[in-house]
Symmetry: C2
Subunit: 337 residues, 2 copies
């Protein structure tokens, strides 16, 4: 049985006081909107315990310190910082994508307008650096540097995502690069930041970062498969949800780039306007599957998970923390496909 | 004669190569939009030399290293970082304020849409930290910490600015606090960051920071006077421009908080809908002047400039650099009122 759910819930409990203390430094409005976004208060300000997300990134950060033999407290500012950067990107992405709900609650921009979402996101990003650098640890600077570079890659991924929507053709490499930016970069930084704060050797930090990168891309591959073929009862999203929006997800881009009649038919369909019905969506899902998009994505996810696990086995790490990291990676990626 | 114009143009020339190298690290789209915003290319991508702003913040950063006896090169990453943070805030503020032009060119959001402006601004903010931390200097961490805290205050100022628009009453203290956040915080960090990077003593850094803070608020007081009584030929803005938008600027908030019939009449006018004509604007400008708003703002600006100059005279600094800092502060604040 996986220890991952216990690890995630432990990580949520560990970081919440420090995360709340950090958010308390913000101006009145940004603090209120951030506290709402994190599920601590209602929009009106009453205390509540809403879903704050799985806390995968803070859990990776705490484990990465343990993996190099340091107490998890060393990683606490790193765990808070990666959670702040993740939520900066969620608040801004919800606005850019026009998403009105997150975790069954209205989004910040939907409740308070676009300027509020821009400013609250900006405040969370600046706060992430402040939390790290306030520690005064000699390792805070390399950790903050890692976080700044990671934020650049995260933004690149979102830029690509928006750009690809407007293009008729996207290569598989571009699609993987986007996933590496949007999902891999921050998981990678999360899995490495605890080790950076603990002053671990570069090779160990690199191995942990590689692990996070590969888990991130594997997660995205599986997520994209679920976006087409996932069971709505499991995913919580409508059937064929990514097809309805004609998203050039990883399985779609693989299928498109195969050449041949199935690819051509898929390419033509992607540029067709109008709301597709269920029968049409089933047919297109079949095209993608016929062109190998589903099998490729699942095989590629498995290959990347193997690379992730190899990375962790290639360096000396605390055995217990390594097992927890491996279990957490599998828990995040291996969902009901 | 002031040496400030030469100092500003020297600072622009000094930082541009490093600023361009930093922007070159961004993804293709953010790089293009940032290069356009900085005036290096046209919207289509052709090289150009458009107005890139006065470079006051980089000039302060370079002088603050010289003032503590360090070569200005020490401050270069700090000068680039404060310019990046300033432009992050301009790109986001233009979007939030709906401003379609900056320096006689269309704004980023106007040309490429709101998502592009959000992402390009985010990228500039993350890049500022990266540039500082990439130096590997032992003083990079305190400089990056200063910048992160400053960004929080900058955002607070913008949050207050937007909030005050929706409120009928704002105290003078709140208005000054907003100016300290929106204008003072980054000028303060700029005037201190070179000294921080040079490893100067805390008392010296604090004096430079105080200087920048006071110059920032003094600038805003004078800018607000010009926004009501400024000569359009000098300001480049329409006459009474801040009154047209019924902005609760510093002179307005002072006048409002005096009590008596002029304050009451002004308060009533501020909540009146409709487009005021020239005669009405002249009458309201007279109300504000009658309630002492103009005299107070100019006296307060002078008082703050004296405090700024006292701060620089209270610590040991290189005499030449101190004179340049004093001249630069006066140049920024003392415009044709």
């Amino acid at each position: 049985m996986s220890t991952a759910p216990a690890c995630l819930s432990h990580s949520r409990v560990t970081i919440t006081p420090a995360l709340r203390a950090a958010v308390d430094r913000l101006d009145h409005r940004s603090r209120h909107q951030a506290a709402y976004h994190f599920g601590w208060i209602t929009a009106g300000g009453a205390p509540v315990s809403a879903d704050a997300g799985k806390a995968v990134r803070p859990a990776l950060a705490l484990l990465s310190a343990e993996a190099v033999g340091a107490p998890p407290e060393v990683a606490l500012p790193g765990a808070v910082a990666v959670e702040l950067v993740h939520n900066f990107s969620l608040v801004h992405d919800d606005l850019m994508d026009g998403d009105e709900e997150r975790r069954h609650r209205r989004t910040v921009w939907k409740l308070w307008g676009s300027s509020s979402a821009i400013l609250t996101g900006d405040a969370l990003l600046a706060l992430a650096q402040e939390v790290l650098l306030d520690t005064g640890l000699p390792t805070a600077a390399p950790a903050a540097r890692l976080l700044a570079r990671t934020t650049r890659h995260l933004i690149r991924g979102q830029v690509q995502d928006l750009a690809f929507e407007q293009r008729s053709h996207v290569t598989v490499e571009e699609c993987v690069d986007m996933a590496a930016g949007k999902t891999g970069a921050l998981l990678s930084a999360s899995a490495a930041i605890g080790a950076v704060l603990a002053g671990a050797p570069e090779a160990t930090v690199d191995a942990l970062a590689l692990y996070g990168d590969q888990v991130g891309v594997a997660f995205q591959l599986v997520d994209d498969v679920l976006g087409i073929w996932g069971d709505p009862a499991v995913t919580g999203k409508p059937v064929h949800s990514d097809l309805r929006s004609r998203k050039k997800s990883l399985p779609v881009s693989h299928a498109l780039n195969q050449g041949g009649p199935l690819s051509d038919e898929l390419a033509a369909w992607l540029t067709t306007p109008g709301e597709p019905d269920e029968e049409e969506l089933r047919r297109v899902a079949g095209l993608i599957e016929g062109a190998g998009g589903r099998d490729w994505a699942l095989a590629e996810a498995a290959r990347r998970m193997a690379l992730a696990e190899d990375a962790l086995r290639g360096v000396e790490l605390d055995a217990g923390a390594r097992d927890e990291l491996l279990a957490l990676g599998r828990f995040v990626v291996d969902r009901e496909v």
